[in-house]
Amino acid sequence: MAHTHTSKTDPVTINTEWLSDCSGCHVAIVDMHEKLLNVLETVQILHCPVLTDIKDYPKAKIGLVSGAIRTEHDRHAAEEMRKSCDVIIAWGTCAVYGGIAGAGIVHTQEEIFDTVYGNNKTTITHAAPSAEISPFEQVVTPIDEVIGVDLYLPGCPPHPAFVFDALLTLLEGRAPKATKETVCARCTRTMKRTGVTKIKKNFDGVPERDVCFLSQGYICLGSVTLDRCMSPCPANGTMCTGCAGATMQILTEPNRDIRTEVADRMSRMTSINRDEIISEIEYSAKSHYSYTMAAKMIGKKPTFLINKWIANTEAEYE
């Protein structure tokens, strides 16, 4: 990996690019308003869809790529970024794991087109657009299966503090530090043993403010999620849905999983049976695994049986 150094005469050049994503990663940076100007003193932003009007890919030291590869255009743009930048950072959950678009792996391209265009109840046109749209690929691919990635920064979006720390890591030639703390580490709720016997849906009742959601019977993914966000959700009264992706122990060990780890902890904090918690998470697996299922580390886990879980859930509806 190439390290870069800054000097007054030679600002560090940066290209950014978005592939299939929600644009949130880029917007989070622009949202910093004048704080962004401090950063602009040390870097020079070249290709950047939200800030500049440069359409080609000038040579740059650092390349931040957000989004997953869903279309042929995404693949082309990712390859151009690799060619033009010395260091590529997979920026945000979409780039690292496939992200929200990655949930598309549980449906065929035909099913998705049919739902979005063919039989969409809220539009009057019933055909997929044919002009000026880049052809879709059959599956959603995290970028590192297509281009070499030097560094990974998950988060949906990663809090700008982490983005700037990542840039400083590179500018100062430091080695990246993968912190293993989870969303719980920055949550301020207290985990208490309770006699709660029933799993609650997110919308059931009003949760207590200072007590951990797991203790209260709500499924919160904070303990299985890497903190790259500063834990805003539990601080604002809602459960973590795991948007920054799983913890290192889940990603590296095929026998560990999101549902089993949450169940291990929650069943000890409450009187709810461990298996019941596992079933509940499988029942809504499309939400609980949506951010990471396109990544091999999660999607190809021998214990990840998404198609079976979806079939079970659908059978219950019928």
Binding site: P154, T169, C184, T190, M191, E253, N255, D264, R265, M297
Partner: protein, 83 residues
């Protein structure tokens, strides 16, 4: 000797480490609702506390690292690249 630190601010007070530790290394400070390391010398380095802790609040030093039977080697090679 193994050295254990708990990131105090990250501790959610769940006491899961007290439950799981086979050698009763921890005590609980009820007033602060935090776990504390009381008998570090008894730690056998099994890392059960570290795996179960919801926050990832533990740091063990000078313990013998035992490789897990099953690991995703492909992902492990990427781990050091995480920012």
């Amino acid at each position: 000797m193994i050295h254990i630190t708990i990131h105090d601010k990250a501790c959610r007070g769940c006491q899961l480490c007290l439950d799981i530790c086979p050698t009763n290394v921890f005590t609980f400070d009820a007033a602060a609702a935090k776990a504390t390391v009381a008998h570090e010398e008894d730690c056998i380095g099994c890392l059960s506390c570290s795996y179960l802790c919801p926050s990832g609040a533990f740091r063990h030093e000078e313990h013998r690292i035992v490789k897990n039977f099953y690991r995703d080697c492909e992902f492990l090679s990427r781990m050091e690249k995480f920012l």
